[in-house]
């Protein structure tokens, strides 16, 4: 159709109007087109980024720190989530009533809470950590602007101070600082993962944009500890340290067949759940890290050294009547006897007898035996910072040094090392490697230290120590044969032997017919009168050994009509120090 052909429809327009309208439309089109071009091609990165920021999320998947448990699965360290309350100071707004309610939930005074919220002008501050689950729910229900709950993982140690030195603890960043937590940090921590997801308007995840990097959860760890024995050892040690007014003490219980550490405790101790009054001295695992001069507990090794070379038999008589002078040192016995057999030297702990035996050996022979028993080397438990002790060099060993080493002076050992060395006597001459982790019996490959004959004959010598006439009658366990050795050493203080400060120790094993446990006890500076290893450390040994034998259900091996000496037992800890015991119960 042709409009121009119809006269009535003919329109007379000024050409400039056409041009103006057309021009305006073109300008509008150009503007829109230009804007579209700008957004689509020049500004696209920025916009794409914004869009992704809303819909795409990259999330870190936190790895849960693994649980530490004892050999029976009893938890010793667990991470559990706790909520903590944070405030963004710039955004926070509250009325008087809201403040009062929040203070009521948190259990704080309103004024104190107000002060706390005003401590900082910018950024975020933590109001309270951690909250109880109930508190967290009530705070969330209030919905106050500027307040937020944050989920954190906190590590709890249900055994508290009982297993504190072995388990150790982690710092705020969940890094192991001490003990097993540090030694097995990598295994326990795990690795956090990552995923990229697309989210909808409501924040629900719709799909994964990339393959998920799965978080590697921290592994659980079963320790070799047996909490029944550990608790008993800890309790008896604490009771003995209190009763003897000692400065400290340590106890180690080892499975003689497998080398597993069943219990290890030290005093003083700390509570890993409450580190407000942190004291590095209390955190030290003395039984593993510190060394001391063992004293007479070394004598069985002197005896083994001469027995294995055929220089003495258990029945050889030794003249121990007169004082013995080696170099410029006079060797003395606390209770002199004219003649003793080798067995009686061990039973009555004669220094003269031990020195006379050791002096028949060359320095190389003597040091070789001690070296084989593990002295002067790390015991290999894998515990961070374990001590190797000190063993003198055979080439430069003076006679007087050889003489004092025969009864355990001039040589330093850790309690763990001493217990490990006794495994040679307990296990017919073989020492299994120590372990803080539970292991299966078939995994153990021992290392031969003594021949089975030597180990057995030294063991039967050590059995007489707990018989009538021995130094440790109080280490007897009714129903079982017990072998062991006492030690009473003068303490070395600034290079001088102190006249009145002692370290009392006892290392023993039972059942003596086929030992299953080794218990080593050390009491540092007993100062309530008694200071002999037999009377201070012996009773602790007896209590712990009896408990260990009972809880493992080992059959008694002593003849039923064996003469029994009535055992004076330690007073119950609650009677000696009721308040302390109640406090301990409450803290746990």
């Amino acid at each position: 159709m042709n409009y121009h052909s119809k006269k009535l429809l003919k329109l007379h327009l000024a050409p400039w109007r056409m041009a103006t309208v057309g021009g305006l439309i073109m300008v509008g089109l150009a503007t829109v087109g230009g804007r579209a071009f700008y957004l689509q091609s020049l500004h696209t990165d920025y916009l794409q980024g914004k869009g992704n920021a809303v819909a795409n999320r990259s999330l870190t998947l936190p790895a849960h720190r693994g649980m530490v448990s004892d050999r029976n699965g009893e938890p010793l360290a667990i991470s559990t989530p706790v909520e903590s309350l944070w405030a963004r100071t710039a955004e926070i707004k509250y009325s008087r009533a809201e403040l009062n309610r929040l203070a009521d939930i948190l259990g704080m005074a309103p004024d104190k809470l107000k002060l706390r919220l005003q401590t900082r002008k910018k950024g975020e501050l933590s109001v309270q950590r951690p909250l109880t689950p109930d508190q967290a729910a009530r705070v969330a229900a209030m919905g106050m602007p500027g307040l937020s709950l944050r989920r954190e993982y906190r590590r709890y140690y249900p055994a508290a101070d009982v297993a504190a030195h072995v388990v150790g603890f982690t710092n705020v960043d969940d890094l192991g600082q001490e003990g097993v937590e540090r030694a097995f940090q990598d295994w326990l921590a795990g690795k956090s993962g990552e995923r990229h997801v697309l989210r909808d308007r409501r924040g629900n995840m719709i799909r994964d944009l990339e393959p998920v990097k799965i978080a590697q959860m921290g592994g659980n760890l079963a320790l070799s500890l047996d909490m029944r024995i550990q608790y008993l050892a800890h309790r008896e040690l604490a009771a003995a340290v209190t009763a003897n007014q000692a400065k400290g003490g340590g106890i180690v219980v080892i499975d003689a067949k497998t080398g597993e550490i069943l219990a290890l405790s030290n005093l003083p101790v700390f509570n890993p759940n409450n580190r407000r009054n942190y004291d590095p001295q209390r955190v030290r695992n003395r039984a593993v890290i510190d060394t001391f001069e063992p004293g007479s507990t070394m004598k069985p090794f002197t005896a083994a050294a001469v027995l294995e070379r055929g220089l003495f038999t258990p029945q050889t008589m030794i003249n121990t009547s007169d004082g013995l002078i080696v170099g410029n040192k006079r060797i003395r016995d606390e209770h002199p006897h004219p003649f003793l057999t080798v067995t009686e030297v061990i039973q009555k702990s004669s220094n003269i007898g031990a020195v006379k035996m050791a002096m028949t050996l060359t320095p190389e022979q003597f040091c070789d035996t001690l070296h084989r028993a593990g002295f002067g080397q790390k015991p290999g438990s894998g515990f961070p910072g374990e001590a190797s002790g000190h063993l003198r060099n055979a080439k430069t060993l003076k006679p007087v040094e050889q003489a004092t080493m025969a009864y355990g002076h001039g040589i330093s050992v850790s309690l763990l090392q001493l217990a490990r060395a006794y495994m040679a006597f307990a296990n017919d001459g073989e020492v299994a490697p120590l372990s803080f982790l539970r292991r299966e019996p078939q995994e153990v490959v021992g290392e031969r230290v003594f021949s089975p004959q030597v180990a057995r004959s030294v063991r039967s010598m050590m059995e007489t120590v707990t018989h009538e006439g021995g130094t440790a009658v109080r280490a007897q366990v009714p129903g079982y044969r017990v072998a062991g050795k006492t030690g009473t050493a003068h303490k070395l203080i600034d290079g001088q032997y102190s006249a009145d400060r002692y370290i009392a120790s006892f290392v023993g094993m039972a059942p003596a017919s086929d030992p299953r446990f080794i218990v080593a006890v050390m009491i540092d500076e007993p100062s309530a009168g008694a200071y002999f290893g037999g009377s201070v450390a012996g009773p602790v040994f007896a209590q712990v050994m009896a408990g260990a034998l009972r809880s493992f259900g080992l059959p008694p091996d002593a003849p039923l009509d064996a003469p029994r000496i009535t055992q004076p037992t330690l007073p119950n800890p609650i009677q000696t120090n009721k308040a302390e015991a109640i406090k301990r119960g409450r803290a746990a």
């Binding site: 129903g479 007896a542 059959p555 008694p556 029994r564 015991a581």
Partner: protein, 89 residues
């Protein structure tokens, strides 16, 4: 010819609708999966808390204190304990 086209168009529409439906289901299931995963994590954490609580209540130190103070029990001395034909557990 136009009939075939019509049929194809209908099939196309049906397929498109099915695709939308499938995608919707996939998203719904994914959301459900995420929810269940979260629930599993919560339950896991709760389990840990319960373990913690259990071992706190059943701690040897606590039991001993209660036995001594509330029940008046004492630990027998060693010579009053006798092991009879014990067998390993």
């Amino acid at each position: 010819m136009s009939r075939v086209n019509m049929a194809l168009a209908l099939i196309l529409i049906a397929c498109a609708l099915l695709l939308i439906n499938a995608q919707h289901h996939a998203r719904k299931n994914f959301v459900e999966l995420e929810r269940l995963k979260k629930e599993a994590r919560t339950l896991d954490e709760e389990w840990g808390q319960l373990r913690l609580e259990q071992s706190t209540w059943a701690g040897s130190a606590r039991i001993e204190t209660l036995a001594r103070t509330q029940l008046g029990l004492i630990t027998p001395s060693l010579d009053r304990i006798r092991m009879e034909g014990a067998t390993p557990p």
